[in-house]
Symmetry: C2
Subunit: 285 residues, 2 copies
């Protein structure tokens, strides 16, 4: 189902109103058209099939850690990261219009969201935590079923989209709860529509494997450290077919066109068995 270039949506995982939709608004624009997908892998398939112009990929949360499945997809598919953003995860207690807080017996949400609001449930022992497959999907469901004794925990965007009301704002235990998202595009689209703006700080993400001999990771990191390039993150994933060996994903501050970075990458290529740049993009706020 190829459509005209102008009208292509961006893919994200979850129901409309997911935190990924907020990321999509920031990364693409406030009136972005979105295509909700059931699974992370579906976003990558949609990109491959040309159904979407981009995908909004959650890669890391400051409480839950990396989204390892998406690291695997970054390696298994081949779409450049062109931008990043971080969204603060604010969990709101949401119910249908006219349903007061005092009537709530159950609150639906994704288990991770429920577990990030434990203080709320400790203070309100009459309300039962009820696991559901999606945060925004739980708002959709209580509205569709017109539940009068149930609430949902989700983003304010979800309340807005489904016409529900926010009863309590920001009921999460820990406010230091952020999710970092990548915008991926097809290589053709990324080349045709380069990132706009005058960015001073860039980040590069790459993946590599090393020979299984002592000291190789240390030497690989020396390619950056000896050139004063600042590493922001390292993540390891199992290397299929080679038990107890790893793929390493590295984020560092720098643009692939900087002479210093060119040298560092040449140095890393000498040491690595395999190396690929996954993207070079303006550092997000």
């Amino acid at each position: 189902m190829k459509r005209s270039r102008q009208k292509l949506p961006v893919a994200f995982q979850g129901e409309r109103g997911a935190f990924s939709q907020e990321a999509a608004r920031r990364l693409v624009g406030p009136d972005v058209e979105v295509l909700p997908c059931l699974r992370f892998e579906d976003m990558f398939r949609r990109l491959e099939e040309g159904d979407v112009e981009g995908a909004i990929v959650p890669i890391e949360n400051t409480l839950a850690g990396s989204v390892h499945e998406n690291y695997d997809h970054l390696q298994n598919f081949n779409f450049p990261i062109v931008a990043e953003t971080s969204v603060r995860i604010v969990h709101n207690l949401i119910a249908a219009p006219g349903v007061p807080f005092s009537k709530l017996k159950r609150v639906f949400s994704h288990p991770v969201a429920l577990n990030q609001c434990l203080d709320f449930f400790l203070r309100n022992t009459g309300i039962e935590k009820t696991p559901f497959y999606d945060t925004a999907g739980s708002v959709k469901m209580i509205m569709e079923e017109n539940l009068r004794d149930a609430g949902a925990i989700a983003s304010s965007v979800a309340a807005e989209i489904y016409g529900a009301r926010i009863l309590r704002r920001s009921i999460e235990d820990d406010r230091q709860n952020y999710t970092r998202f990548f915008l991926l595009r097809t290589p053709e689209y990324a080349a045709k529509y380069p990132v706009a703006g005058n960015h001073t700080t860039w980040k590069t993400t790459l993946v590599f494997t090393l020979r299984n001999v002592p000291g190789t990771l240390f030497r690989a990191l020396s390619a950056f450290a000896l050139r004063d390039l600042n590493m922001a993150k390292i993540e390891s994933r199992p290397l299929r077919g080679k038990p107890w060996e790893y793929l390493f994903y590295l984020d560092f501050i720098g643009n692939v066109d900087d002479p210093n970075v060119v040298n560092a990458l040449d140095h890393l290529r000498e040491l690595a068995d395999y190396m690929r740049i996954l993207g070079c993009y303006p550092k997000g706020a």
Copy 2:
């Protein structure tokens, strides 16, 4: 419920017959008494409460990667790792006695196990994949319900325990499928019953945090690389309360009593904000 020292079981997550039970047999002995737990955290709570003498903790799978939740528990609780082992994950197709392969319409198992047997389902399109909460639990269920058109995917130990029959052995797509397990003990128990045997190769696992300045991870790894100590694994997890900073977990080959290791650890302490040894144990096969 304190019981006499001699009789204490070891905790593991899953139903009887889980791969963790095979790990328990190897790590503790063939006639080990086990206490099945619903969640990983329950094992650590049981250790804390003195209900068990040890816990069998899966930490890493060669296909799925690290069990990140257990890395977090290693840090949040304080029980030494005293041994490790790796179990090859062999998925068997299991049914009640007298149920032939030709009658199977559905096969139950944990979603991860089902996804590791995709070739089997592609070759047998008449059999439906049916997600269940546990591999061994799916064998227990088909036996209890006496299902005559359903199978389960689980370990051979599960078939043995529940009196079921193996219809097809080793139906997993990828034979390079291993899970590494730790044996954790209470500090008192670990001191009282040191690891037996004459082990030549030891591993040490530690956790540390670094100041958030450029090049610190490189310098931390230098403590090992400059002393020719071989790093086996590095894992990072988010540091709570400090968005985009990390806890690092490191495995290296060496015993904390080796003079070389003593120096490396002193060096790392200089560089780290925080450092703790999680265990020093004989390297598993």
